[in-house]
Amino acid sequence: MTAYLLRRLLYAVPILIGVNLLTFLLFFVVNSPDDMARLHLGNKHVTADAIATWKRAHGYDRPLLYAPEANGVRRFTDTLFYEKSARLLVLDFGHADDGRDIGRDIRQRMGPSLAIAVPGLILGLLTNITLALGVVFVRGSGLERAAVFLAVVGMSISTLFYIIGAQYLLAKLLNLAPVSGWQDGWAGLKFLILPLLVGVVSGIGGGLRWYRLLFLEEAGKDYVRTARAKGLAEGAVLGRHVLRNAAIPILTGVVAVIPLLFMGGLLTESFFAIPGLGSYTIDAIQSQDFSIVRAMVFLGALLYLLGLLLTDISYTLADPRVRLQ
């Protein structure tokens, strides 16, 4: 097991380097730091001096990959790749264009992101599993067909409509919750209502379909027929047997996304003005702050790979038949 995990960890290294190279290629090779400077200084009447100053101030005044005039190892470390990209590998995120420490921003903003994402995940999971079990319970009936159709309708509506609709109907017209905002501590609980509700409701369409498939597959197995043959009520079959056996794929699916919860929801956070990492990313994209985008791309990749690793581990823990080698 340890050897396997170690190998998986090592396997992640070339991928992270690949991600790093990809962002490096996109941000420094396709566009030169000069372009970036011009963009931030405004296109009109930019002198070469101004560009050089901006580049020096933001640390972009280095060669890309190799510095011929430096000595020794500094030939490789005094470069953009080392300073701006390779440092990400040791979680040194550097500074944003306005001089703020990205690492500190990320640590600060993780809290609000998790405050939305964790309860959102749990509530969504409970809702979807309950609904899916209900739909599987009435399978073959018109009610099931109607529910599946409604799920497709739910999937066909853009998340934007869910958010805008909820803000307009529940917050503006009915005044049930604040439209958007954030406050630390328990007093801020009221700001969570709307984002959580939107997250759960917009996820029902896809979630219901997915869990329904899982349960149906499980419900078609032999042991379920046996359970029914010995006279167990359908509700007990589903609740005691099907749900428990389907728990393994559900669990491993959930484990894979847990690390990504840190990244927060892009749309939810920016619509509801939650100071998490999702809105941080959106703001960075809209203000074209490449340092932050680069950091977030790398962080996302790191968390994704962590999720894969956790999935593997949870498989062995949940299902003793699985042996990793």
Binding site: N31, L39, S158, L160, T281, G300
Partner: protein
């Protein structure tokens, strides 16, 4: 030399859309030769939901194609010269809608403007009133006559729609009778009971519904703004119709890059294995690790920067918008091939061990021939299914990306941009809800049938995954 009345202009996205339509038709034509797909199509035709979805999708495709035939009209005063503005065939067809603009917002079917204006009456007194619209219901002298006027227009439209539905039904009935050798009455009975091989009843119902809607909207649109007007007084119905092209192009043209990439890399990895497999797996593991929106955002930001620095190369506003759309499709394609590639790799891995492939190899056929003649025909169904499933996802993604600011050009009419502006309009008092409602309806009208069709296709192609029993 005779001067043409118009000068055809082919935008890149036009080319892409027509190319994908041609490729899809070719693929479907070839797919008829494979028994598995023929059976699947037969099954699809038997499903009422699938047939109705196809009927609802047809006008979207038609509008997108009409909007992808661009030209410059000839100038009337100087023969041989053409105007600077590029128009599409759809623009021409909708000229009345396009040119009847108001000053600012007006509600659907409204007679008066949404905003008050200061007017000076004949006696010199100044008043704040809601002025009458320049075009919406301008023919009515008496504003209280609006209800009866609308009803007078709707009734014949309803009749026309029903007549079209009836005519189509008659045609189908006649064909059914000829094919089966039954008398016309018996064929009609079968059609009504839904007892036909192809689910004609639901298709005809959908077509009738569609005909009635189109006729009603057309009847009202000649005199009113059916879906209201936006901030600068443009007809929202016109904008919604123009958005169709953007949505359809994003949904389909992205596949133009994604599908070949997935097919080539996937089969190569699965069939050849070894180093090639390692490389392809590494490639998609790396791309997959980056969160999708961020990767697209990063690519679009870089593109923006590039276009900013090379403004001179992109002459017109329209050209720039078109290029942005093309690039967005390419970027979505470059990030969207991974799922299918994985699927095809696994499938090719299985297929290469099968006896018919082994024997083809033993007979000394070239690798290329084995891949093209023995592997690809057996993978077509997966490609087709993925294309249909991905389509709706891409249409939805456009809205989100445009909201984030990395979608289509702000000048391009698209649902994403409509939603984006509608957000602020909703905060006004009273709220301006019609742009949002229009974008919602038009998007749902495209994405829902596409999703339903994808579901039906999945059931037909792969009963295991469908979950139907």
């Amino acid at each position: 030399m005779t001067a043409w009345p118009v000068q055809p202009v082919v935008l890149t996205t036009d080319l892409m859309l027509w190319l994908i339509v041609a490729a899809a038709s070719g693929l479907l034509w070839r797919a008829r030769a494979t028994p598995r797909l023929r059976a699947a199509f037969g099954q699809l035709a038997r499903r009422p939901v699938a047939m109705a979805s196809l009927v609802f999708l047809a006008p979207y495709v038609a509008v997108a194609l009409l909007d992808s035939l661009h030209f410059r009209p000839a100038l009337a005063d100087t023969p041989g010269a053409y105007g600077p503005a590029v128009e599409s065939v759809l623009d021409r067809l909708l000229t009345p809608l396009r040119e009847r603009t108001e000053k600012t917002y007006s509600a659907p079917l409204a007679l008066h403007s949404f905003a008050r204006e200061t007017v000076t009456a004949d006696d010199g007194s100044v008043k704040r009133v809601f002025p009458r619209l320049a075009h919406g219901g301008a023919h009515l002298a008496d504003t209280s006559a609006r209800g009866t006027d609308i009803a007078r227009r709707l009734l014949p439209a309803l009749a026309v729609g029903l007549a079209v539905g009836a005519a189509l039904s008659g045609l189908v009935c006649w064909r059914l009778a000829r094919r089966s050798g039954l008398p016309l009455r018996a064929a009609a009975g079968r059609l009504l009971r839904g007892d036909t091989d192809t689910a004609w009843r639901s298709a005809l119902l959908a077509a009738t519904l569609l005909a009635v809607t189109v006729a009603a909207v057309a009847a009202l649109a000649t005199a009113y703004h059916v879906l209201g007007t936006d901030k600068v007084g443009q007809d929202v119905l016109y904008l919604s119709l123009k958005s169709i092209r953007t949505g359809v192009i994003i949904g389909s043209a992205s596949l133009l890059l994604a599908l070949p990439l997935a097919v080539l890399l996937g089969t190569a990895a699965g069939y050849f294995g070894g180093r090639v497999d390692d490389l392809v797996q590494y490639l998609y593991a790396t791309l997959n690790a980056v969160p999708g929106v961020l990767l697209i955002a990063a690519a679009v930001l870089t593109l923006d920067l590039y276009m900013d620095q090379h403004v001179a190369a992109f002459a017109g506003v329209q050209q720039r918008a078109d290029l942005r759309l093309t690039a967005l499709c390419l970027i979505l394609g470059a990030t969207g091939w991974i799922g299918l590639c994985r699927l095809l790799r696994g499938e090719a891995l299985k297929l290469r061990e099968l006896e018919y492939v082994q024997s083809a190899r033993a007979l000394g056929q070239t690798q290329w021939r084995i891949v093209t003649r023995h592997l690809w025909p057996n993978l077509t169904h997966l490609v087709l299914l993925t294309a249909v499933i991905d389509f709706s996802g891409l249409v939805l993604a456009e809205a989100v990306l445009s909201y984030v600011g990395v979608g289509v050009d702000p000048g391009t009419v698209s649902w994403g941009n409509m939603i984006n502006t509608a957000r602020l309009e909703l905060a006004r008092e009273p709220a301006v809800w019609w742009s949002l409602a229009a974008a919602f309806t038009f998007m749902l009208g495209l994405v829902l049938p596409a999703n339903l069709l994808a579901d039906a296709l999945r059931d037909a192609l792969d009963p295991r995954q469908g979950g139907k029993h």
